[in-house]
């Protein structure tokens, strides 16, 4: 349910993608494979986050300081979504090549997240494909804040064989400031290891394994020592009621991702990148049982299978063509763990194909780019406990266009537009949903060792036959220091 999850965690990923990708392509309307960019070379690190390839990919020392902000609001939302949501964060990312000893990349950030007018939900991600919802009875605001740290190290084991590993740790504390005063400790620990091997000249194969462990501990405790009441929904209609002066609950999610990358620049003027993987995830929903024990009342297993292939070809001097072919499949099921009964099962498949061109003009310092993508999605959902069955096919298309103009030697301006049309919005079940994005930004070289980059984006998601909409506004600034 790639697209669904994309919407579910849109903001979260948007912020993280802004931190982890580059602001230039995002400013160009979100262009990707048809524009040549230093930070999107289709290699195992750029496509598959394989830490082993950093030693080959990243040769220059830098430090990036990235403050960012994002806001979304609107009434196009689901039952447990916030009415408005804001992110603010400051992120530092530094890379240091250590010569023969490898390459080190470190990231450190602090995130502040505000969810306004959250209806009943007390969990950070109420919609993650599970059949279980933890809710109270009020509408309130929830804030989350905390640090996030990542370290990646990569080195060359022998000639042509590189290894790398990464570790990430994030801890957020949250509070719903009404009635249950639910306090959340959200912890995310992630480790990954990778290998890349140069099969022939300029052709690499990579392998990556990642283990991620998330835990969300929620404690509802009224500050006035009154009773609090929580409902643990199994499906949409049936809930286990829990009432006490203090209630502690937990959600644990574990993922194991294995992926394979292929990268080749062996054919002249052509770059080929492939990333394919298997991504199983299990989630456990736990409630207190007999005072000191925990009872797993809900269990969900979701498995993603994906493969994306990109090709970029230089048609002539300044003209690039790019092609993308992708496949994504998810199988997910949830069970009532106490009696081992199937509650919900759903699957989704998406096939995506895209083509794009970019032209760098010789006469004027201008880059123009255009990409077109279409995808076919089928979804089949059976929520047995609620007797809700849904099966649908839909076709989506996306057009992206961007222009970049070098106004002065040290100043480049860029802007872009992206339009997506979804025949079926899998998140809300509505038809004919349009998503428009306007983006822009610029690079300004302060000196030889410092570049400042600004990016901003406005987007609107709205179904055609409904007056509802959801509006997103985000802005990031990046100061890149090439020596520190």
């Amino acid at each position: 349910m790639k697209k669904t999850l994309f919407h579910l965690l849109l903001v979260f990923f948007a912020v993280n993608s802004a931190y982890s990708q580059n602001l230039r392509l995002m400013g160009l309307g979100g262009m990707s494979y048809s524009v040549e960019d230093r930070d999107f070379m289709l290699n195992p690190y750029d496509l598959g986050r394989n830490p082993a390839f950093i030693v080959s990919d990243q040769k220059d020392t830098y430090l990036k300081i990235i403050p960012g902000y994002l806001n979304e609001s609107g009434d196009y939302k689901r039952r447990y979504d916030p009415q408005n949501l804001s992110f603010g964060g400051l992120h530092f990312k530094g890379l240091k090549p250590l010569g023969a000893d490898g390459t080190f990349l470190g990231e450190m950030g602090y995130v502040y997240e505000y969810r306004g007018q959250v209806s009943r939900a007390i969990t950070r991600q109420p919609y993650a494909g599970d059949a279980f919802f933890m809710v109270d009875t009020t509408v309130g605001n929830i804030t989350y804040s905390g640090p996030r740290m990542t370290a990646i190290y990569s080195w060359e084991l022998t000639d042509g064989l590189s290894a790398g590993f990464s570790a990430m740790y994030c801890i957020l504390s949250g509070l719903k400031s009404v009635y249950t005063y639910s306090k959340t400790i959200f912890r995310d620990a992630d480790v990954s290891a990778g290998l890349t091997y140069e099969l022939t000249d300029n052709t690499y194969i990579g392998l990556r394994y990642e283990f991620d462990d998330k835990q969300e501990s929620i404690e509802a405790n009224d500050v006035n020592l009154l009773d609090v009441e929580l409902f643990n929904y199994v499906g949409d209609n049936y809930a286990l009621r829990n009432r006490s002066s203090t209630i502690s609950q937990k959600i644990r999610r574990k993922t194991h991702e294995t992926s394979l990358q292929f990268y080749s620049t062996a054919i002249p003027d052509m770059v080929i990148g492939l990333n394919a993987g298997l991504f199983p995830q299990e989630s456990k929903f736990m409630i207190p049982y007999q005072a000191i024990q925990e009872l797993v009342y809900g269990y969900t297993q979701k498995t993603d299978y994906y493969a994306d292939m990109f090709t970029r070809y230089s048609l002539s001097d300044g003209t690039l063509a790019g092609i993308k072919i992708g496949y994504f499949h998810t199988d997910c099921w949830s069970k009532n763990n106490r009696n081992d009964l199937l509650v919900w099962e759903w699957e989704q498949s998406t096939v995506t194909a895209g083509i794009g061109f970019s032209q760098r003009f010789g006469s004027v310092p201008l880059l123009a780019a255009l990409e077109f993508e279409t995808s076919l999605t089928s979804i089949d959902s059976s929520k047995h406990i609620d007797k809700r069955y849904y099966s649908e096919n839909g076709t989506d298309f996306t057009v992206r266009g961007g222009l970049e103009y070098q106004l002065m030697e040290n100043l480049s301006l860029r802007g872009g537009y992206r339009f997506s049309s979804k025949e079926i919005d899998l998140t809300f079940g509505l038809r004919d949903v349009a998503h428009s994005q306007f983006s822009g930004g610029f690079d300004y070289t302060l000196s030889n060792g410092a570049v400042i980059q600004i990016f901003t984006r406005y987007s609107k998601l709205s179904p055609r036959d409904s007056g509802n909409s959801r509006v997103f506004l985000e802005g990031f600034c990046q100061l890149k220091l090439n020596s520190f």
């Binding site: 809930a239 294995t258 009696n339 199937l342």
Partner: protein, 366 residues
């Protein structure tokens, strides 16, 4: 070359490890529990031979860990449901007696397991509820919505569901929260035919058998802890200034007495505090007053009605089963909610099925 081969073998090995972590989904689905229960009711009034009819369009209350569900039997008196989540259910069938309008026919089935792969088929035989005609109908004890612990607007409501006057003279209302070292509050400690653990005992004026204070058929009476307008203290509270009766502890130096409201007086001289009951968990018992020697427990045979309430359905029931077989679920503290019988006076001696939580207190009405 060897390195290359080793590397390529690593890929399926890792995939196999990851795939080995994955579980298969269960083959049986939740939400497919089926039941088919035929409901009969005994409509005999004077005969000793039961006369059963089908309970057509009778109200059915299903309770489980997922809460309460209301349904109805069809024109054949059959309850047929095909998509229940698997759980343990208590089911009660209720219908107004077709010949005697102030009586109800009640049939219960308790602790039945509805599972997805089975069809539960059964019959239930409802009988007219026969008892004293007087019931504790509503209890409001959790306090109004407030955050400074105000809960003094408690009251207990009685209801006469018989078709004749009932005299209250000498009747006693007891709060039973003691006997915690034994079987618990309201239990028959020592199996000597009385319930134990009385902490407060307040009495209507007069003696049993006297005919001065009555409750009419279909009348509610409200007995307040403090008969004042509590809205002057907490705006979300209720007005009990004009209630029918008031608990007044004559041994307390501080208890307020509304002169316009008659009193139930304390008969335990060692208790010098106001009549208050627990906000979420307690036992309340109404007795005829024939037995006043509370020290060794009050005779169960003198019980008119009794109810134990608790904040959780999993709490251990301690009240003797001859008084009540169930446990009423109480509302949260300081929520302004109350608990009352589903139907006025609908007393099957099983509080689990008889009582429900209501969003606001309804003193003197249903």
């Amino acid at each position: 070359m060897l390195k290359k081969i080793n590397f390529i073998f690593l890929i399926p090995a890792l995939l196999l490890i990851v795939a080995g972590c994955m579980e298969n989904p269960p083959s049986i689905r939740d939400g497919e529990g089926k039941l088919r229960i035929t409901a009969y009711g005994d409509t005999s009034v004077v005969d000793t031979v039961p006369h059963y009819i089908r309970l057509r369009n009778a109200k059915v209350i299903l309770t489980s860990e997922y809460g309460t569900m209301i349904s109805y039997t069809d024109n054949e008196g059959i309850l047929s449901i095909e998509s229940l989540p698997s759980a343990i259910y208590n089911i009660t069938f209720r219908m107004v007696h077709p010949l005697v309008s102030n009586r109800i026919l009640v049939g219960n089935i308790k602790n039945i397991e509805i599972a997805s792969h089975r069809v539960y088929v059964d019959s239930v035989f409802a009988s007219p509820v026969s008892n004293t005609g007087l019931a504790i109908n509503e209890i409001y004890c959790g306090g109004p919505i407030n955050n400074f612990f105000y809960f003094y607007d408690q009251y207990i409501e009685l209801y006469n569901y018989s078709d004749s006057l009932i005299y209250l003279d000498g009747m006693q209302v007891s709060r039973v929260s003691g006997n915690n070292e034994g079987k618990g509050p309201g239990a028959d400690e020592g199996d000597d035919g009385d319930f134990d653990g009385v902490t407060y005992i307040f009495k209507f004026p007069g003696r049993p058998g006297e005919r001065n204070h009555f409750i009419r058929p279909g009348q509610f009476i409200v007995i307040a802890g403090k008969a004042i307008d509590h809205r002057t203290s907490v705006s979300t509270s209720i007005d009990l200034n004009s209630c029918d009766w008031e608990f007044y502890n004559q041994y307390s130096a501080t208890d307020f007495d509304n002169p316009n409201v008659p009193n139930l007086l304390n008969i335990r001289a060692d208790r010098t505090v106001d009549f208050l009951i627990n906000l979420v968990s307690d036992v309340i018992i109404l007795t005829s007053g024939v037995d006043t020697v509370w020290e060794d427990g009050l005779d169960i045979s003198t019980v008119i009605d009794g109810v134990q309430y608790a904040s959780s359905a999993t709490k251990i029931k301690t009240i003797d089963s001859k008084i009540d077989k169930g446990l009423a679920l109480s509302p949260p503290r300081y929520s302004g909610q109350a608990m009352r019988r589903r139907e006025p006076g609908g007393d099957t001696d099983d509080a689990t099925l008889d009582w429900e939580i209501i969003p606001t207190a309804t003193p003197g009405r249903h």
